[in-house]
Symmetry: C2
Subunit: 426 residues, 2 copies
């Protein structure tokens, strides 16, 4: 059996231990929800204050040039590129994940329509994050295409000669299951299908190699494992071989080849810059840079590979401790045990009381979250979701989280009336 | 002749005088560029710091509910509604102006296609802000429609039976000329044409009455006269009679009727909420609220009507002083003298040296900006642009700005080599 002392030793031996001191976390909280909103970097308060007081207040309009506001999407994009296997100049930080997905799905469908006009199906996963499906649904409806939603194990068989585009989220938000990006992309390409990857639960959490996988399009989120702050701008990457083939429909002036010529005709900038649209929220971009720097700080300590090793050790430990210490309470495991198929979160299933247990844990300072299943009708059970950000979560945190879970279950505390409500947040 | 003493008296008599103490402005600066980026409200630094340190840092994921992050687009929308003649629940603050324009232009073109399928032309103004034209150009290309660009005086004649939608910016960014929204909308409707109004240079600057004018769609900007900070989220209004007729294509989860049910099918929320898409940049929205409150603070002192009176007095004074004190230097007036046709800015023309003069003024602390003309080929001369935000600009400021302009012109200071460059910002 694993002991608290074992966890203590693991923390002492952790080569990434010092990285947690980059963050301000509330006293008495074990934060296992960095997959929903990353923690606050210590640098963010002063940096955002400087942007407000000096850059906005004193610099005013001059700061567009003097404080480098115009270049933020590209400058931050270059930082993100280092975390996802992209090259400098291939990524911009901008808009929201949903909006960026709209841009790249349009591009993918356009290119497919030119190169393979008879393909009329877009394939995705039924339990993909809903906003991805909503954007795809709208586009398919508009273009007379069919959106085919399948289970993960059905993807391979779904890659037929009718399919134009395969759109997947690399790590599933609900289960933490991770696709093999390289293998899936290769299979898709072998079938003549373009790939669109959503890295919302991957960027900053697991190694990603977009160029190595020869992926086609990708988007991702700034406020989860990248610690960019609430609603931080998202990012978009396009394989350079596709970037100049399409003029994406959100063709605003920030994507123009010469925005300050103020010409009435649109002329898209070369490369990824044409995936910009309107003026960006500078204060939120400023905070995002602080978040990116917390992840890049790991580079001197082994980078994403080292973060991945620790992430797997944390999630392995959590699974082991839950199974050793919380047996007999009807908990199941929704996340794959196989390392190659696991993101940086662990999802437990329970047929009854999952939401109340999450609330009881939150009341004790262990912050995870809840995702509803589809009830009696479906195959998905309610889920207790725990994200493990290796930058700021330690092995003793895992022990303590499981100890709280054990106490909540053993005592029946979760059955108290105050935890019997529905009010989930992402 | 008007004297400095006259201006001093005007300031003392100004019932809105106290409102300027809501802002932090740099020492020694006369800021005539609030039409590009509004000044910093005193409250913003502390409010944003609270959002960073408390809401994000301490509240973490809980702040989506506890700090009201989810409701910010609607809550701020209700504040903006008060400034543009809209009702509570009709406006959301979200995304960028360009993206919101894409949403409403799609809606307008969809509704026109249903109600009047033979109309295949979208009319706009040749000197509309370019991003509006770029978005319209892309949509027209995609839908096989024609984008017809005309001069302001040609609009009335262009409203033919071929036209589906008229898209105008209420106050022209380049000249400060203002359309009569009510009359133009009435003429468009009489010809069976829907109207889309961009309020980028109107909201917070001039009285707007969207419902009074029975306009159809509108968007606007948060970072100009609304003082919301660099790249602050924009806003969108849709006439309630149209709102539920169309499912706009940026159909992300924030526009879903029940986003936290995480259902795979999109079901648009009723009303303006379906014009939301993805997660919003909370820190930038937080700053925007501080800006909105500076404009709403005028309500106790007469509101937009009082701001308008002062704005016209300021721009009248500027025109008068330039004509009295800077004669003989070849300056022209691009902004209409007629009050009903003037926004809250004054644009001067010059055949030579306009950009150098703007730079020389900035070096003296008088911040306006420059917009290039279309050279020998065209009819538009280079423009020196001066915005007058009545919340924080006084009559003595106007005097001093003109005094600096006079000195720059009389001395030939603008011909110094350091002002001979091209590097304009919006």
């Amino acid at each position: 059996m694993t002991t608290l002392q074992d966890c203590h030793v693991l923390d002492k031996q952790d080569p990434l231990r010092e990285l947690r001191y980059q963050f301000t976390l509330p006293e008495g909280v074990i934060y296992l929800d960095g997959n929903s909103l990353g923690a606050l970097p210590n640098t963010a308060a002063a940096r955002v204050a400087q942007a407000v007081t000096q850059e906005w207040g004193q610099g005013l309009i001059r700061s567009w040039n003097e404080a480098g506001w115009f270049d933020l999407p590209q400058r931050l994009g270059d930082k993100i590129a280092q975390l996802i296997g992209a090259n400098p100049g291939e990524v911009v930080a901008t808009d929201s994940t949903s909006i960026n997905l709209y841009k790249v799905l349009n591009a993918a469908l356009h290119i497919a329509a030119v190169d393979a006009p008879r393909r009329k199906v877009l394939v995705s996963e039924r339990s993909n994050f809903p906003t991805d499906l909503y954007i795809a649904e709208g586009l398919c409806r508009e273009r007379g295409m069919r959106l085919l939603l399948v289970e993960p194990e059905e993807i391979a068989a779904a890659l037929t000669a009718e399919v134009a585009v395969l759109m997947l989220t690399h790590v599933n938000y609900r289960t933490g299951a991770m696709h093999d990006m390289q293998a899936v992309t290769r299979a898709a390409h072998a079938a003549g299908i373009l790939t669109v990857w959503d890295l919302a639960h991957s960027a900053g959490a697991v190694p990603v190699d977009l160029n190595g996988a020869q992926a086609d399009f990708s988007v991702g989120c700034g406020y989860k494992y990248l610690n960019g702050g609430p609603g931080a701008p998202a990012f978009v990457w396009v394989n350079p071989k596709h970037a100049d083939r399409f003029w994406q429909p959100l063709s605003g002036w920030w994507g123009h080849a010469a925005p300050f010529e103020f010409t009435p005709d649109y002329r898209p900038a070369p490369g990824i810059t044409r995936y910009l649209c309107g003026t960006q929220p500078i204060l939120s971009l400023t905070a995002l840079e602080c978040g990116l720097d917390t992840v890049l700080a790991a580079q001197a300590l082994g980078g994403m590979q080292a973060l991945r090793r620790k992430s797997l050790a944390l999630t392995d430990l959590f699974i082991t401790l839950v199974e050793e210490r919380c047996a007999g309470h009807g908990l199941g495991l929704a996340t794959p045990r196989e390392h190659a198929q696991r993101g940086s979160q662990v999802c437990l299933t329970k047929t009854e009381g999952a939401y109340a247990i999450v609330l009881a844990l939150i009341a004790r300072g262990v912050i995870g979250d809840f995702r509803a299943g589809d009830g009696d009708a479906g195959k998905h059970l309610d889920i207790l979701r725990f994200g493990f950000t290796p930058l700021y979560i330690g092995f003793e945190d895992v022990w303590n989280a499981v100890e709280h879970l054990k106490q909540v279950l053993d005592s029946g505390e979760w059955q108290r009336p105050e935890f019997n409500q529905k009010n989930a947040v992402t």
